[in-house]
Structures are given as structure tokens and as C-alpha cells.
Symmetry: C2
Subunit: 576 residues, 2 copies
């Protein structure tokens, strides 16, 4: 029987609860958003005891369905002030699912200066004081935790940024090697974890009962078909394993949609130096690993292990978004410097996308110059120190823009934009504008059609029909985020007609249901409605579903287009 682990830091109390009816059968983002919407006062301070950090594996988590290991973190976001879900790979989701834990709800607040580890295993959960980990960098803290609790534990850990409650703080999760290369990056959820007084969550899966599957044969059959669709797809089966997500650098640059130097151009002259093809060559030369699964059961293997010239394993999970953010957007064309920046972000516990946006705005403010890699490194080191400048940096691009009086800040709802300029990928722009999550590509990855052409190529520069597309993607994503499936299954689900039915078949076989594809769409819509309703109660309106004004006025080279999806179209996304 699935359980909920409820942890109260004010009372230092940990309870195992039966899953109440209202939360029954929820997974991933469905669980986190439902709990946050039901239990958190939308007007609370995100760092206060009224906020809750909610963690949940997906509905297919812990099974042999490929790429189903994502785990969702949710809370009211310190960055946006709205509801937030951020999901991540690694081993945490699988471990929780196999322990039959539907979700963890962390509430209340420890006293200032207290630090705890939440330890979870087959016998339940306990809070353990962890003063020895205070202000430890993430890699260091994880090493200590694995030494203490065993090499095989899954760890979710925050860095000094989360402990200092910086609004761009992430939560790092260990990958299959036990290295914290995976980040639930967006929305500052690491600050929520820090505000509770939790430095890390350690999950020991030893002797876990494993997941219950009602009809194993049907499940296995569907899982096999699903695996086949992923393998046969040219992106998830070839491009991503070969070059990782950084394959997108040259593609987006070619498309004129790679945001460069704080979103002032869609082309970066040094793009090829930091693209997936170059990265693969470097990794092979230095005997790193260009093709690595982040999560057990991953068959896409878009992750990697990146070494410096001297052989130091500097970073892993070195992804397109991070390379764009800390590279092109800062005018930095040197992969080694970007790798160092990536490691610093992961160690300090800061979201790489938000940091790329923030450093870009800092460069626009003249704090350091575009292209100044050492300057960028120093900004992150300030964040590590917790100096005033570092605290501003750690608070994200919207905050830095306000403090320095900068107008060109690429954000929606206070969250910095990811690696696709909305003026040259307008469906993605609709997602940025209208997602309850703030600017977030994963909330509705229209890029799959606008750039990759999966399921039919659409013109990324044309505003027409993009609201409809974004809506369809947002709904599908909200449902996918309930299952624990990785976003990258979308390439197959868009192009191989066997893929979606296989997912539905797995859900039905596992839970003894008779869902149809329509039910999955309904689930996605329900999750979005729940999130929108929370945001509405938190004070969000249509006025928040807009891109910054400068993007509707300032033309982006090389296409010299502005974001011109109409407000009516934007508002149509959430009409039913």
C-alpha cells in the first residue's frame, strides 16, 4: 500500500500516512500541484512555515517502463510567487516509487540555523541533525552522505544557495553513479527546502518492496513497444545519445533562435565551439563519457561526463540549456569555462538557466562584460560567499534587473527564460507567457515541432496557430509530468503512433484501469486548472501571461522579428 511521508520541521515530527482519497492515484506533478493547491495558502511567504515542499515520483516510476524515473518537486515558488513543479531524473524517483511512497510533504520550519537530513528507507522516515553539512557545496555534501549512508542511496541535496534561501536555488539529485549531476532547477525550490531546514533527503532503497503491477504481462508488452518507439526515433534513438542535448546549439543557432548576449541576437558567432558536435569530440579525446543515462531505465542516454584537459571530472549532465545559458547568453564561447560555471552552479546549488539569464543581465548592467568568463565565475563565487552581490545574483535575473535598474530582463512571472528566443520560436513564447510555471520551455515544448519538426514542421516565426499548439503541448506535458516519463519521450509520441497508446496501456495494466487517450488529456487539463487556480488565488491575472514589453518591440536579429502573438491568442490558451 502506498504511503505519504509527512514531515513537520516545526514539530520535528515525521508521520507515515495512508493516502487520503483526494490524493489517491496521483503521481509526479499531479501529486505535487494538487497537494500544494489544497494545503498551501497562496498568499503565504514562500519561505515561511505555511509553504510546503512536496515530492513525488511518477505513476510509472519504479517500473521497467523506460525513462520513467522522473521525480517532481513542488511548492509555492520564491521566484515567481506562484505554484511550481520542477522534475528531475536521477535515482530518487525510482527509489521512492519502489518504497511505495506516493509522496513526501515537508511542512513547518526549523529554527534558523538548524540543519536536518530526512532519511527514508523501508522502515519509514526520520529526521537527523546534520550540522556537519552546513554550507557544504553539493558535491561535497553528497560525498559525505554516501560515505555515511551507503553508496547506493539516492540523495536530494541543496547547496549554500538553498541554505541562504536564494530565490534561484535548485535541488540536486544523484544520478546512477551517485553524483549530483541532476537538478530540479527552476523556481527556487531549493530555497523552500532551505527555509524548512532540510539540507538533504537520503533514500535508501535496500529491500524495498517494489511497485505493484496488476497485469504484468500486458505491462511488459506495452513497455517493450514503448522502448522500441524511443529507440527507433531519430532524435531519442540517435541524436541525443550521440551528442546529448547540446546537439541543439547549432540547430537553434541556425534557426536564429539561440538567445545571445542577454537576448540581443538569435545567433552566436561562437556557437559551433560550444555545440554538441564539438563537445562530443572533446569528451572522447579526454576520455569522458558522451553517452550516459541519468536514471535507471533510461534508454536515451542524453547525459554525459565532461572532463577538463587535465582529466578532472568537472561536470556531468552538461546540457543544452546550461551550455546556452552560461555560454551563448553570456557571450562565452569556451566549453571548459562553461563547464566550470556549470559545476559551480551545481555545487552552490543554483539553477543554470536562471544563472545564465542573471549573468546576462549583469553583463548588460556592466557589472562584468559580455564574454568575460572569469568575470562570470567570480559572480558565482560571490553567490557562494553570500556577499551582497552574490545574494543578488542568487536571487535571479528579475531581482538583479530591479536592483540595477535594467529594463531588458528576459523573464515571465519573475522566472528567467530558457534557451529559445520567443521572437524566433513563437509557440515556445506562448508557453513562456502562459504557463503557470513562469518562463519554462519544459512546460510546453513546442520546439519539438517548431524546430525539430516532429509531428509536422511549423514555421517558428509565424504567430498564427501557436497558442493552440502551445496549449496542446502544455496539456500533454502536464499529463506526462504525472507519469514520471522524461520530456524526451515526446519525440517518439509525436511521430510514432504506437507510443501514446503504449503509455496508456502501461497505466491501465499497472493500476487496473481502463483509461483512454482522452482521459490522459483530461488529466493534463485538470493539473493545469489546479495550478491556474492556485495562481489566481495568489494574485495572477492575464496581465502576468505576457512577455516583457521589449520583446514585442525590439527586433531580434537575424530574422528581425518581434513577438507578435496577440493577447487574445495568449488568453485563449487557458480558455476551455
Amino acid at each position: 500500500m502506498s504511503k505519504i511521508v509527512r514531515v513537520n520541521l516545526t514539530k520535528k515530527e515525521v508521520k507515515l500516512e495512508d493516502v487520503p482519497k483526494k490524493y489517491d492515484g496521483l503521481g509526479g506533478r499531479g501529486f505535487t500541484s494538487t497537494v500544494v493547491a489544497a494545503e498551501v495558502n497562496p498568499l503565504c511567504n514562500p519561505l515561511g512555515k505555511e509553504n510546503k515542499l512536496v515530492i513525488a515520483p511518477g505513476l510509472l516510476g519504479g517500473t521497467n517502463c523506460p525513462n520513467s524515473g522522473r521525480v517532481s518537486f513542488g511548492a509555492k515558488s520564491p521566484l515567481t510567487g506562484g505554484i511550481k513543479e520542477s522534475n528531475v531524473g536521477g535515482t530518487l524517483g525510482v527509489r521512492l516509487a519502489k518504497l511505495q511512497i506516493e509522496g513526501i510533504i515537508i511542512e513547518g520550519k526549523a529554527k534558523d540555523g538548524e540543519s536536518y537530513v530526512l532519511f527514508v528507507n523501508k522502515d519509514g522516515a526520520t529526521l537527523k541533525p546534520s550540522n556537519e553539512l552546513k554550507n557544504d557545496l553539493v558535491y561535497n555534501a553528497v560525498e559525505k552522505l554516501r560515505a555515511k549512508y551507503g553508496e547506493k542511496v539516492a540523495v536530494a541535496c541543496i547547496g549554500p544557495a538553498g541554505e541562504a534561501k536564494m530565490a534561484a536555488a535548485n535541488i540536486s539529485v544523484t544520478d546512477i553513479d551517485g553524483v549530483p549531476t541532476r537538478q530540479a532547477g527552476r523556481g527556487g525550490l531549493g530555497a523552500v527546502m532551505g527555509s524548512k531546514g532540510i539540507k538533504a533527503i537520503v533514500v535508501d532503497g535496500t529491500d524495498a518492496p517494489g511497485v505493484n503491477i496488476k497485469d504484468k504481462d500486458s505491462f511488459n508488452k506495452a513497455a517493450k513497444i514503448f522502448a522500441d518507439t524511443l529507440k527507433k526515433d531519430s532524435i531519442s534513438g540517435e541524436g541525443l545519445p550521440l551528442y546529448g542535448t547540446a546537439i541543439l546549439i547549432n540547430i537553434l543557432n541556425e534557426a536564429g533562435a539561440l538567445p545571445t548576449k542577454n537576448f540581443s541576437s538569435g545567433r552566436f558567432e561562437e556557437a559551433n565551439n560550444i555545440g554538441g558536435e564539438t563537445m562530443r569530440e572533446i569528451i572522447l579525446k579526454r576520455k569522458g563519457n558522451p553517452t550516459h543515462p541519468c536514471s535507471p531505465g533510461c534508454i536515451i542516454n542524453c547525459s554525459n561526463v565532461y572532463k577538463l584537459e587535465d582529466g578532472t571530472e568537472i561536470t556531468g549532465g552538461f546540457e543544452y540549456e546550461s551550455i546556452w545559458a552560461l555560454g551563448a547568453n553570456c557571450g562565452i564561447g569556451d566549453l571548459d569555462i562553461i563547464a566550470r560555471l556549470n559545476r559551480l552552479c551545481d555545487d552552490i546549488g543554483l539553477d543554470t538557466i536562471e544563472m545564465g539569464d542573471t549573468i546576462g543581465v549583469a553583463m548588460e548592467a556592466g557589472i562584468v562584460s559580455f564574454g568575460d568568463g572569469e568575470g562570470a565565475i567570480n559572480l558565482l563565487k560571490e553567490a557562494e560567499k553570500g556577499s551582497p552581490l552574490g545574494k543578488i545574483v542568487g536571487s535571479g535575473c528579475t531581482c538583479l534587473g530591479k536592483v540595477y535598474g535594467i529594463e531588458r530582463v528576459p523573464q515571465v512571472k519573475g522566472q528567467g527564460m530558457p534557451a529559445y528566443d520567443p521572437r524566433a520560436t513563437k509557440g515556445t513564447g506562448v508557453t513562456y507567457a502562459t504557463s503557470p510555471m513562469g518562463a519554462d520551455h519544459t512546460a510546453g515544448y513546442v520546439i519539438a515541432m517548431e524546430i525539430a519538426g516532429c509531428g509536422g514542421k511549423v514555421d517558428p516565426l509565424d504567430p498564427k496557430g501557436k497558442a493552440e499548439l502551445s496549449k496542446a503541448f502544455q496539456v500533454a506535458t502536464a499529463a506526462t509530468d504525472c507519469t514520471g516519463l522524461c520530456l524526451f519521450v515526446a519525440f517518439a509520441t509525436l511521430t510514432d503512433e504506437r507510443a501514446n497508446p503504449a503509455v496508456v496501456d502501461m497505466l491501465n495494466a499497472m493500476y487496473g484501469l481502463e483509461l483512454t487517450g482522452d482521459d490522459v488529456t483530461k488529466l493534463g487539463k485538470k493539473v493545469l486548472r489546479t495550478e491556474r487556480d492556485f495562481n489566481k488565488r495568489a494574485g495572477f491575472t492575464k496581465a502576468h501571461d505576457r512577455l516583457p514589453l521589449f520583446m514585442t518591440k525590439e527586433k531580434l536579429p537575424p530574422h528581425n522579428t518581434v513577438f507578435d502573438v496577440s493577447n487574445e491568442d495568449l488568453d485563449s490558451v487557458h480558455e476551455d
Copy 2:
């Protein structure tokens, strides 16, 4: 004939325009809010070229009506993101009115680093480069400007904070001695002025045509009655001239509503050391001036000139709000230190209320300690330098709270609260919560009844009926803010039945109208509706008409009350 001065900093263009019908007959806040609502995109960046800084004297400005010299500044606020009006005394309003200028509209944006003076006289207006004033402290800049343009000019000037576009930057205005002791403090309008590239506005009233009054005899008769009501009132005729507004320190302390140490108590043990009675003694001993008019025609004289022990004239217009903010709220009980802080704020160009709130939150964050006067001075000096910490401080308490992860931030809509704890003055709390201006006592000064008992004493601790009262005050204030009358005429209008009719009679005599008291109420409602509508378009909802959650949960000593006006009551304020 009245004119509008329209200044475009992008084009470096100054035009004298006839007043269009839609702006005809508007004054003060009525003019600024109407123009901002009509001409400014509510979704613009407040520091961008789309925002406009609007300046207007009141309808009775430039006449011999006592205390009618207020001038309104308006824009989209960088602090709240909503519409803002901030009015101020001094000589500017009178000069503009006598030049028959209904309003100044400053639009566009100079290039970064450009600095201009807008010079206005009987012949029109011109933009003059003013690189020599860049980053000058306000007192210094004003001295240079008076040396250049003549002793008698009125000056509105920003300090380094406004030039750096800090969100708590004010606009200083010269008083009858030509000293910049008067501040349009709230909402960061100095940053809007700075973003335009305007360092100062200099108004030379030489040979001004003066105002037109249709029926001078009736006007003078009504003005005389009105003056009599101000003189006879015990507060505006006795208390304020004698002790200044600082008379309120001991009164509010006694009432348990003087926010102390970042709103953690309603009593300050050192209140008497910083109260009006003590201040008067000190001023008299040091041969300052305890009774000083800020504006020509002021007969209340609540201002003052404060000297240090060595005779240095350190500050003037040393007011209750500033003394509370920089004193009690920071746990500082030494008037000389508070005077130095006040002067620093005025010189750097930062709002004293916002700075008191910000330093209070900085003290809660442990950056400096409560009571540490030199520490507080250093924080302001950081702002003067424009260091990262200084920029955070200059961005106001909400920003500092976010950057340092502090939960207890006394603000509404991003603007710090003034000198009345809403848990012990609940009608004032309703004003903080529901005013389109953000937390602002002047938007609906229910204190006049809750504390001063004018027009009937009400229990400040009782939540009942307070929404209704706040609404009445907000409507009356919005109308008063159109006239140029000082807020302190309210004591007379609440207690002397001759006062309000006299104001209506003056308006009728001046403009040849036949207004009734009801029309004035309608005017106030109209202004509020215009402002609410702008804010709605900017994304504000009922969720923004709330006090911070901690004030509804954390009891305030000594009465140990929370803010318990219901949300329904709060929402009733703007129902018609």
C-alpha cells in the same frame, strides 16, 4: 490659458500644448493619475521609455487659499508596479500654478549617462545638459542650481539614488528658503525621473501671470473662513506648529501602535527621547527653528530646522514619519543620529519611510543590529556609493527581504509601511491594504479618527466598520489631492463644519462652477477608479489588497492583537 508642458527625452523635444478636453480642469493627483492611466502602458517597465513622469499643481495652487501649495508627481511606480501619486509641499506647485501650467508630462528616455535640467519659466520650457550635476548629492545640486538660475527658483531634484534608478528613490523639492527639505518620497518616482535622464526641474516664477480667479471676492471670503478653521483647530492651529508632526511619537507609542524594531512591538522604550516635545527643546536650545512653513501660504507650520550640537543645520522638515522610520523602527533612540540619517536620505535621494523599513528588515536579517545608528548610517552610505549592498538597500524593504530571504517584511504591493502598525490601528491597516498606492498612510489617514479622535473617536483595535471608514478617507483624500491642499487640513475639515464648504466655495469661485460637496466626493471616487483600473490592467487583484500574512498571525505587543479585518471587508472598499 493653462498649458501642458510635454517633454520628450528621446527626441529632446519640449512642447507647450493646449490642455485637451480630456485633461481639462484636472489638478494634482487628478491630473497625474488621469494622464498616467490614459497614456502609460500598464505592462511597461517603469524605467522604460514607455513610462511617463507627470507633475501637476493642485486646483487651488497659486491662490491665497492657505496650505494649497502641494504638487503631485505621478507615474507607474518602480516600487509597486502600479500607478503612483506622491505629493509634496515646497514652492514648486505654487510656481507652476502661477505660470498657468496645468501639468508637465515627461516621456521617452535620454541615452544612458545623459543628464538634463528641465528649465521652466514664463516663456516656456527648455532642456539643458547638466553633466556637471551628475551624482551630486541633492543639497549640493540644489545649491549649484540656485547659484546658476537664481535664489528664487523652485527646484525638484533627484540624488544619486534616482540617477541609479533605485526603486526607493524620491524627488526632493525646495522649501521657502530654497532648501530641498521636502520630498515626494513614495513609490520610487525619483527612479522614473532618473530613467528619463532628468536630474532636476528648475522653475523660475519671475513675471508669472498668476492664477485666474473668476470671482475674487467670493474666493477671498471663503479662503478667510478656511484659514480660520485651520487656525482654530487644536491640532493644525496648536499642536503641529508647536511640536511639528513628531508630536505623534509619544501619542502613537502610548497607543501601542508605534512600529518598533521592524514591526515587532507597538511600543519603543526610547520613544520620549525622539518625540516632538524633546525635539522642540533641542531645537530651541540649539537655535534652530521648531515652527516653519514648507510652502508659501502655509499657516500650519509643522516643519522645522534642526541643528546638531555644534550648530550645523543638518536637516529640515524633520517629520514624524522619518523620525519613526529611522528611529523607533530601527531601535534608534538618538535624535541626532536620526537627523543624520534623515539628511543622508534627503541628500542621496531616498524615501525616509522606505529606508526605515528597509534598514529594519536589514537589522532583522542581521546585516546590522537593532539600535546600531552608525551601522544604519553605513547602510545609507553604501547606497550613496552604489555598492551592491547599497543598491539592495536603495531598492526598498521588499527587495532586501527577498534577497536576504526574510519573511517579516512590512509591505503592501511592494511598498514599505508607514508609522502606524496596522494591528493596532486597523482602519489605517485597511488603507495600507487597499489603496492603489501600496502601503501609504496619506492615502486614507484614518489615524485622524483612530488616534486623534477628529470627527469622533473610534477604537483603533476594533476591526468593525474600519473598511467603511478607510473608504471614506480614501475618497476624501483622492479629492483633496486634486486641490493642492495639504493633508493636514483634514483635522479642521473633520471637526469644523465650515471647512469643507469653504473649499467647495473656493473651487466654485475660482472656476465659475456650481459644485456641491457631493461633486467633490464623486471626484475622489473617480480618481480612485481610474487608479484601480490602471492597476487592474497592470495585473493587480484582490490578492494584492492584503497585508503580509505574518501580521494576521503574529500578535503585536502591548495589545497583543493581530490584523483581523476580514477579506470581505477589505474587498468592500472598492465596491461601489
